[in-house]
Symmetry: C2
Subunit: 416 residues, 2 copies
Amino acid sequence: MLAEIITIGDEILIGQTVDTNSAWLGEHLNTYGIEVIQITSINDKKESIVAAIKSAENRADIILITGGLGPTKDDITKKVLADYFGASLIMHEGTLQRIKHIFESRGRSLIQANIDQALVPDSCEVIPNTKGTAPGMYFEKNGKIYVSMPGVPYEMKAMMENVVFEKLNKQGDNYAIVHKTITVVGVPESHLAQIIESVEDRLPSDIKLAYLPHLNLVRLRLSGKSILRSEVELMTDIDTNFEKIKELIGNVWFKGDQGIAEIIGTMLKANKQTIGTIESCSGGFVAHSITANAGSSAYYKGSLLTYAYETKVRLADINQDVLNNVGAVSEEVCEAMAKNAKQKLDVDYCISTTGIAGPDGGTADKPVGLVYIGLAKPDGSVEVKKCEFHGTRLQIIERTAYTSLDMVRQAIDAAR
Amino acid sequence: MLAEIITIGDEILIGQTVDTNSAWLGEHLNTYGIEVIQITSINDKKESIVAAIKSAENRADIILITGGLGPTKDDITKKVLADYFGASLIMHEGTLQRIKHIFESRGRSLIQANIDQALVPDSCEVIPNTKGTAPGMYFEKNGKIYVSMPGVPYEMKAMMENVVFEKLNKQGDNYAIVHKTITVVGVPESHLAQIIESVEDRLPSDIKLAYLPHLNLVRLRLSGKSILRSEVELMTDIDTNFEKIKELIGNVWFKGDQGIAEIIGTMLKANKQTIGTIESCSGGFVAHSITANAGSSAYYKGSLLTYAYETKVRLADINQDVLNNVGAVSEEVCEAMAKNAKQKLDVDYCISTTGIAGPDGGTADKPVGLVYIGLAKPDGSVEVKKCEFHGTRLQIIERTAYTSLDMVRQAIDAAR
């Protein structure tokens, strides 16, 4: 079965909101053997919505629509769908009761716009919204399925998980779809392609190789899609091919769709080693990158976030005179931070960061993007790397985190 | 002028990558008076690419295509475009020299796939890639503009900023497009709509109001688009309407497209107060949410990230016996964390978080999602909130951060 996702809302087109719903839907639909053929984001004008639905009908069996179901005047999806299917809007008693209950429990009074949210086209099946007020709608017409859901991610996800996936699953067809990914570190995409060319050239026609480069990681994905072979058969074939790839590239690969933080987590856990951080310019993002991974408490002990000068002195015993003489953004301070925090946190590795994330605070000597990254290692030595990053504040913060974590990877790798 | 964005790559359709390029493009094109009419994400099959381009030609004057320009076999965009425009591929000497230089400077040897990246359709203008190897391509045909760029965000952005925006700007037409947003806190969307209905109903036809709810924030955006009125006229009108809206809603609004962390930053700066954090389960994400904002060093001093039990004792003087008796995830420990860290960091407000972010580590007594959030206030008192969050590890981390920051907002608000 093929699905198309239509997201409605000017906020996506003008870049005020990043469309994360579609990625979530794509990922989950795949596990039900449903392939997403296109994602279409449009504005909330009637003609755009109708045109997108008509166009999607030419490509897909299932059309998932998110957005435009709020209680305010800019939300017109429900009305457009009712017109499109020639349906009348009727009051859905269950939804009305639920909305009343929500407002009562919050001590808020109900207004007409809230009551109107319980109106639904008479030809749809209502999908209860367990996380908000706007109901979802499920239509079947001319052998196609149409699902309309709110754009609020947790409301949409609850509807998919509670109702829609199961309904779609029953529709099923015979396509098996599987994906598997490994992450390769430190080999450029083009070289990787050359190294594994012999495997790629001999892949069966129902298995496809994709390269997803990001900084110095490349994710290699093998995707199988077949109407003749089962998921198990496809996956066995994918596993065999990954084994061949791994042989060709040596020990630079990691399981799954891993980021650098997960990779060093795997390495630290295998070595029964611990890590800590002391951050200034990266403002907690190195810590967050590590702790975003489940199970990180097995190797991550904690951090000092010494954002202010004063905090560097109070928490990390950085010498006030050194700070005054060379400034916080310096090799000396970076080294002392890593060294002192390693001891305070009692860890094997300790990352330190200090720099200027901008957009303000740069000088001719120390421009925005200048970042020192330190790594205290188990033998007590401290490596300090001077980096000059470009980009926005967030990009500088992200690159600082990535680079620091890759320094850990290289250090662990060198030690083995 | 109307633009359509086409993003090519299975990774978006299967949810392995979130499409952030389109949001960036939409936001920036708007500032050049170019409206994005549709965003279309497709797989990297020739027929999908051709169909998407043909369809976009019916809607847009400018077609921006990202993705599918890598050196590997799954990247076919360049070949498809050459065929589509009836062009031959020729070697672009400037690009070849640049690629050679990149590989030499990294001490890597050049392979055929790298050389082939310098091949371009003979009918395009080459857009130099200052951040990577694949060149961009600019075509004009039958009054339409087609731009093909890599999907790697920083390569695409550099091409837009260095070359494409300026070229598109020269095309210009007479539409003025402006947007302005304010953020409203703590008023549900439907109530807000009722309160400001009188303003909304009297908006001129070239100004449109949108509601963007997120947790207990609602962003209100006024968008003006006109061929008759100038940007200045539209913005003056938008400002007047926002003044009326602000009068109706009172002091619950904040400037611009602000998140909760930016909002408390504004409040703290106005009060010349400081804040610090001590985090456990949120793993640095509260700190990151605060420090992601430029200028946060004016009010944010730092954090203790006491992830391990041992670190809570060592860094935050949490009593080992209390930890043993009631556990780290408890009201007592949460309160002590906030109190002790407030003193250590010497701040006016101090947030503490301790909980179970999951997916493992939950028990019947203390399930995944149980989070205590503490806030030590200027008067020395500590408020502790017990929360039961649902969702994935990252959602629990995000909600912890959001809730903690909203506690700060309410506390500052109550104190004035």
